[in-house]
Amino acid sequence: MTSTLSPGFADPVTDAQSCFRAVLDAMARPGRVHTVRGVSAPMPLCEAAGAVLLTLADHETPLRLDPDAAPARAWIAFHTGAPIETDAPAMFAMALSLPDLDTLPNGTDEMPETSATVILQVASLTAGQRFVLEGPGLREPKVLTVAGLPPDFVAIWQRNHALFPRGIDLILCARNKLTALPRSVSIKEA
């Protein structure tokens, strides 16, 4: 290692709190897009993905890291202390493209909370393909626009949603914006 690591949160307590509230609100109201005060995460991570990692990951959360995001490995390891690519079942997956959800823990019927959360970095949350979301947290169906999801995402998600209460939760990040798709939400193409 010759390069120096970029810093984490400027103010760890308040930055983590405000990022968490953004994720919490996005999880509670699926598809609502929040702007977060980011961090200068190293390439290829975007600001929002870096902020979410610093907010939620630590030594208790085994993390699966997308091989394409390997340049950020030292930064994540230093700032969060999360065990990366260990044998332990991953609690988080940091991905640049949607991983095969079947390879991640999706919980058990009695302990559905033991499933993994995928932090997925996408190209955009303001342009791209339109999806219609329905479920808890939404008074009426909501349209979410995302660029960077696989073409068969709706079918993949429907399989994940059908597992409820088991299933994977997604946090979508693009630049300094984020939103979330909990397993409870059903998704259709607009």
Partner: protein
């Protein structure tokens, strides 16, 4: 406050609780275990609620704490002061001004908004606890959505008393999947949980469980087609503000059977009186 982290809990604990909260929101009504910490107040005084509040609270939040609807009881005053000291947040007694409301056993009368979060203090998160003492068993029952036992309990109530005899902590189904304890709020408050615009979080400190109801989620009080759920309230208007649609506390006023019925939500009652609504006993008070 010197010597403490913001909002008392250390960051590692907050992260652990925050991860639990996100899972709880993603699985509405499911009890997520968490590593409940020892707090500077005894179990049963809201340690679960406090830990949830501490994990979500930010400098810009305005906190309201109620205990059985009242802002001025010991529990409410101490928790409000606790966060004013450890987090330096602004506190309020006005429901409309608050962004985070921590509550013990009531939901405010005023309809909560999209930008508010309500945190419930929960003594016993397991709705099946009185029917099945084994955690292992109740976990399995939740996993299989096997809630026959609770329906039998309600049926037995009807066959013995002619009605369902639960007046508080009345069990609900969340999002048509999980049986959930609404915490010991009066059954009167149950309908407010259904399709509430605000996020509802529940913390049980001693039992080490967190659960949640996202906004706009179906919350149905268990009942039968021929014995529909009915919210019970004392058949009186509030003695101070005259409200007929709020939950009432019965106050014994003398040794000759004197009774006064007043709003349990002190902020609601105060607001109504400030707006000129005066109940039958309110005049007396003003005249004295």
């Amino acid at each position: 406050m010197k010597g403490y982290n913001f909002a008392y809990l250390d960051e590692q604990t907050k992260r652990m609780i925050r991860r639990g909260l996100l899972k709880a929101v993603a699985i509405p009504g499911h009890q997520v275990p968490f590593g409940s910490r020892e707090m500077p107040l005894p179990y049963g005084w809201g340690t679960g609620g406090i830990q949830v509040t501490a994990s979500i609270l930010g400098g810009g939040d305005v906190l309201k704490v109620i205990d059985q609807g009242a802002d001025d009881t010991t529990n409410a005053v101490s928790i409000r002061r606790f966060f004013a000291r450890t987090a330096g947040v602004r506190t309020t007694t006005a429901t409309a001004e608050a962004t985070v409301i921590q509550t013990r056993h009531r939901i405010p009368e005023k309809q909560l908004r999209d930008d508010q979060i309500i945190v419930y203090q929960v003594p016993q998160p397991e709705p099946l606890f009185r029917l099945e003492p084994s955690r292992v068993e109740t976990k399995r029952m939740h996993g299989l959505a096997d809630y026959g036992l609770m329906h039998v309990k309600l049926y037995e109530d009807i066959s013995r008393f002619g009605q369902i005899s639960i007046s508080y902590d009345y069990p609900v189904m969340v999002n048509e999947r999980y049986l959930m304890s609404p915490s010991p709020i009066p059954a009167f408050d149950n309908p407010k949980m259904d399709m509430m615009p605000a996020l509802q979080l529940f913390g049980a400190g001693r039992e080490k469980r967190i659960y949640a109801i996202p906004p706009w989620t179906r919350v149905k009080s268990l009942d039968f087609d021929d014995h529909p759920f009915r919210a019970i309230n004392a058949p009186h208007p509030c003695g101070l503000c005259g409200a007929t649609d709020s939950y009432l506390d019965e106050v014994v006023t003398d040794d000759r059977g004197g009774r006064l019925f007043v709003c349990s939500d002190t902020d609601h009652c105060g607001e109504r009186r400030a707006a000129g609504h005066i109940g039958a006993d309110g005049f007396q008070e003003a005249a004295e």
